[in-house]
């Protein structure tokens, strides 16, 4: 079962992801702030990460940056209430698999998650294991 880490400080948002993605057959690991999200990323090694931007203790983009320091491959979805993060040059497109603006359309959420995980499986990751060991 694919593991999805959700970092969001809104309790109902975490509930929604657990509900929607759990029903779709994924194991959902929820984190209530940025630091917890990063710690759970290290301990649980998820296949996909969904991050809110504005979170206490550690900003979503900082979590992303730290994840990328240890793992260049894991797909990350940014889900935020901010307008069009795509326009934000601070976020490099190569680091983010997709942006979802809240309120999220649950059909789109399922589609994107399914597509991204399928691509991650198909895509050969020669450096992935090496990086994991370092």
């Amino acid at each position: 079962m694919k593991k999805i880490l959700v970092g969001d400080d809104e309790m109902t948002a975490r509930m929604l992801y657990e509900e929607v993605l759990g029903e779709a057959g994924y194991e959902v690991i929820a984190a209530k702030d940025g630091r917890e999200a990063y710690e759970k990323f290290l301990s649980d090694k998820p296949d996909l990460v969904i991050l809110d931007i504005k979170m206490p203790k550690m900003h979503g983009l900082e979590v992303l940056e730290r994840i990328r320091q240890t793992d260049k491959k894991v797909p990350v979805i940014i889900s935020t209430a901010y307008q069009k993060m795509e326009d934000d040059t601070a976020v490099s497109h190569g680091d983010v698999a997709c942006f979802l603006t809240k309120p999220v359309d649950i059909n789109r959420l399922r589609e994107e998650v399914g597509r991204i995980l399928a691509e991650a499986v198909v895509e050969p990751a020669p450096g992935g294991t090496q990086e994991d060991t370092t």
Partner: protein, 465 residues
């Protein structure tokens, strides 16, 4: 030779000794050898008198001659002095004339308007800048009682206070109305004119056109407001979207679980639809409060307009609305943000289509005028009532049941960010026309490199009024 009375007198005086000799001669002949005779004595006396008088007269004459010489010298000197004085007077006159001209030149080349009155409030000075600002000819002001020049009434009141009450203004602000009915804010200061004997001899007002400054102030205020609104909208959007995410997400889940025929399904449909509406309001507010990065690239407007029409062709077909295009072939390129301008054209065309649910024609024209591109979007719908025409560009004003009221406000904002203008003309039953004017690239270049040429073009195009 002219004979002067003085010469006759002089000759008469000189004749006296000769007369005495003439009388003494016969008397000597008559006396003969008898020197002791009375005749001889008289003759001798006469001869003596003649000798004495001739000597005396000669001395007198010499003295008179000398006197005359001195007088002539003095006269000559006086004449020279007089000539010198006349020259000095002439020079002084010229100097005064030059000074006057110099003063006039200063007055005329001042970028400050000057208007002065005498104690009777008759206008005595009205310089070129004053004429330019007020739109009044000098002849319509100078020599006239200032109170009778309607356009200058506010200035007249200030000058009257200066003359009558000695009350002057350091930095006042009044609004005058030109003969063409244009209101012009002016910054004004007044002072009392003092004559050579320290007596008050009228008053002077100097003033400047504040239109441009006021305009800039308005723009600055507007952009400050918008920046504030932008910050607020961004924070508000974030705060609204988080709970909205949960409401809409769970409503979507319920919607999926409810059967098509269920009452719950109808309810959840409503919740989902309304959350989308809230999201639209939030997004539109963000777009409205966000400044467009204009000047992004060079745009070919005809292509942009045609693309918008293509996007809307399906919607138009459903409402049996047809498009009528009139795009000039050689439009100057416009520098701008393609997606934002597309948003404007699409919005206007969609409004036009929606205004004609029973079908009609949307006419779109683009023409080049005075270096600008003018785009008109017209419909054959019911038109917009006069009383709401002023409000349609205001944020959150809408006549549609499901509109956010931000569509035209966003259009207006985007066009203004591009340095253009948008206006509406409409009459009930006669359709509506939106006219957009965008500065063409050549007009912008002229602005930057040839201020004189651009200013001239502006005045030709009626830009001054």
């Amino acid at each position: 030779m002219k004979i002067r009375p003085g010469m006759i007198r002089k000759r008469a005086v000189l004749a006296i000794p000769w007369l005495l000799i003439l009388v003494a001669g016969p008397l000597l002949l008559f006396a003969g050898d008898d020197v002791s005779s009375p005749a001889a004595a008289v003759a001798l006396t006469l001869l003596f008198a003649a000798a004495v008088s001739s000597g005396f007269l000669a001395a007198r004459l010499r003295a008179a001659e000398e006197e005359r010489g001195r007088v002539a010298a003095v006269n000559a000197r006086l004449g020279q002095e007089l000539t010198k004085l006349r020259q000095a007077e002439e020079e002084a006159r010229e100097e005064i004339a030059q000074l006057y001209q110099h003063n006039q030149n200063i007055l005329e080349s001042l970028k400050t308007a000057v208007l002065s009155v005498d104690p009777g409030q008759i206008a005595t000075t009205f310089n070129a800048e004053a004429a330019r600002i007020t739109g009044l000819a000098r002849g319509a002001v100078i020599g006239k009682p200032l109170g009778e020049v309607l356009a200058l009434r506010p200035i007249y009141f200030l000058l009257r206070r200066a003359v009558e009450e000695g009350l002057v203004y350091g930095r006042g602000e009044v609004t005058i109305e030109t003969p063409r009915g244009k209101s012009i804010p002016i910054g004004i200061s007044t002072s009392i004119l003092i004559g050579p004997e320290h007596e008050p001899c009228g008053a002077v007002a100097i003033f400047k056109d504040l239109s441009e400054i006021k305009n800039l102030e308005r723009k600055l205020k507007r952009s400050e407001h918008l920046a504030l609104l932008g910050e607020m909208a961004a924070s508000l959007a974030h705060e609204i979207r988080n709970p909205l995410n949960s409401i809409s997400g769970f409503a979507q889940l319920l919607q999926e679980k409810a059967r098509e025929s269920d009452r719950d399904r109808r309810y959840t449909d409503i919740i989902v639809r309304e959350t989308r509406r809230i999201e639209r309001i939030v997004s539109d507010t963000l777009v409205f409060s966000k400044e467009t990065a204009a000047g992004v690239c060079e745009l070919e407007l005809n292509g942009l307009i045609t693309a918008c029409i293509q996007t809307l062709s399906e919607v138009a077909r459903k409402s049996t609305v047809s498009f009528n295009l009139g795009l000039a072939s050689r439009l100057p390129p416009v520098t701008g943000n393609a997606s934002r301008l597309e948003q404007v054209f699409t919005n206007l065309m969609l409004n036009a289509i929606q205004a004609m649910p029973d079908g009609g024609v949307v006419s779109v024209t683009a023409t080049a005028t005075n270096g600008c591109v003018e785009i008109e979007v017209s419909d054959t719908g019911p038109g917009i009532r006069q009383e709401i025409q002023d409000k349609i560009f205001l944020p959150f004003f809408t006549t549609k049941s499901d509109g956010t009221g931000l569509g035209l406000a966003i259009c207006s904002r985007i066009i203004e960010d591009h340095g253009g203008s948008i206006e509406v003309s409409s009459a009930p039953g006669q359709g509506t026309t939106f006219k957009i004017s965008l500065p063409g690239q050549s007009a912008r270049t002229e602005d930057a490199t040839q201020p004189t040429a651009a200013a001239a073009a502006g005045s030709i195009g009626g830009g001054m009024e």
